[in-house]
């Protein structure tokens, strides 16, 4: 006040301008978010709209930033500070502090707290044998049935991506779809093998072909997209009793995956690093794709602890081949029970 009274400014002009600009940008973002909420309340679905921030994100070394974030989160916190820090995290991201399996003092770092296990019985599994259960805690973003050739999942209104690019095995999928559309495929050409690849090809790519091979019962392919908030329990469980035939690791980018990113970044899920588990349950094909993000870039598999994700220098474009492992014995794979923990997301 004294400095201002003497006509001297406390901040240099450039700093004041930067602060002002950040303030304006923040106010605009808050205004946009408020408008989005109002439009949602009116039943108007948000549409895909790429913005400057999404373009800017492509220039950033997001994978390196993610790993630095991970190193920071693994720094051991002094015991006396742990409850305060974890409670602050829980307040910021709405975590339930009644659920962790251990007292807060026993989590040595924020990373350890983030991937916390829960007390026994915190997540009862729906016993209905004819239901699929949620593999994660989160928010349902999208769900529906995949229909016809192309089999696209809608990222947001106005932009969709092919499920074959998300899960892999795109060439066989494309071939089968093309043959089915052109009518070239005959019953003599129908593959008789029941291995996972041909099964996926028949089931997802070509509904007509599928119906000829599996006359009864009729089946459909469904999907459900679930978003995990930073405060959510971050372990992945099995949605059904199933056999996991193979795992694919796509080493891609690490864009954020929040709702704003979903609206603004094209091909978000098929560009980001992800691990896909593919197999079969009693009703047919099933696959889980765990998609990483900037802050949560690593995916650990309990059934394959040696798998390393978000490694330095391992980024490939989504058009390049992925790393695949077929679980032994081939055609049977690993049997996993409904509700069994299979994977987890780690920070960095």
């Amino acid at each position: 006040g004294a400095a201002a009274a003497q006509g001297k400014f406390l901040l240099p002009g450039a700093s004041a301008a930067v602060l002002l600009m950040l303030g304006v940008l923040h106010a605009k973002r808050m205004y946009d978010d408020k408008q989005l909420v109002e439009r949602k309340e009116q039943g108007i679905e948000p549409e895909f709209s790429p913005d400057l921030k999404a373009s800017f994100l492509r220039l950033l070394p997001l994978r390196s930033m993610s790993r630095v974030w991970g190193y920071l989160m693994e720094v051991e916190v002094p015991v006396f500070m742990r409850p305060a820090i974890y409670k602050a995290w829980a307040r910021a991201f709405h975590s339930n502090l009644q659920e962790p399996a251990l007292p807060l003092e026993e989590y040595p770092s924020l990373q350890a707290f983030f991937i916390r296990s829960l007390k026994e019985g915190s997540r009862p599994i729906d016993p209905d044998p004819n239901c699929l259960v949620s593999p994660v805690d989160g928010k349902v973003l999208r769900l529906g049935q995949l229909r016809g050739p192309g089999t696209m999942i809608e990222q947001v209104k106005g932009f969709s991506y092919p499920v074959s690019s998300l899960l892999g095995a795109s060439s066989s999928l494309h071939d089968a779809t093309e043959k089915d559309i052109s009518g070239e495929q005959t019953e003599q050409n129908v593959p008789e093998s029941s291995n996972a690849k041909s099964w996926w090809r028949v089931s997802v790519a070509s509904p007509k072909l599928r119906d000829r091979t599996l006359l009864s019962p009729k089946r459909g392919i469904f999907y459900c997209v679930l978003y995990l908030h930073p405060g959510d329990y971050h372990r992945v469980h099995s949605p059904v009793d199933w056999n996991i035939f193979k795992r694919r690791h796509f080493s891609g980018n690490l864009f954020p995956t929040n709702e704003r990113a979903v609206r603004t970044i094209r091909n978000l899920y098929i560009e980001n690093e992800r691990v896909v588990l593919e197999g079969q349950w009693k009703e047919g094909f099933v696959a889980i794709a765990a998609v990483g993000a900037t802050n949560v870039g690593s995916i650990k598999l309990l059934i394959e602890p040696e798998l390393r994700t978000n490694s330095p220098g391992s980024m490939t474009l989504h058009s390049q081949p992925y790393d695949e492992r077929v679980y032994e014995p081939e055609g049977t794979g690993m049997m996993v029970k409904k509700g069994q923990e299979v994977a987890g997301f780690h920070m960095g």
């Binding site: 239901c131 949620s134 994660v136 349902v140 973003l141 469904f222 997209v225 949605p239 995956t257 993000a293």
Partner: protein, 42 residues
């Protein structure tokens, strides 16, 4: 982080008595919060 589940499920199934069971249906809708173990669909 995000998880996408893709799965096959019956559209209709003929019972032994000739009737047809109901299709697979989701128990949740877009925007719902869900936790591990809660049914997505039956």
């Amino acid at each position: 982080s995000t998880v996408v589940v893709v799965f096959e499920a019956p559209l209709s199934k003929a019972r032994e008595d000739g009737t047809v069971s109901s299709d697979f249906g989701f128990c949740v809708k877009a925007g719902d919060r869900i936790r591990v173990g809660e049914a997505i669909g039956r």
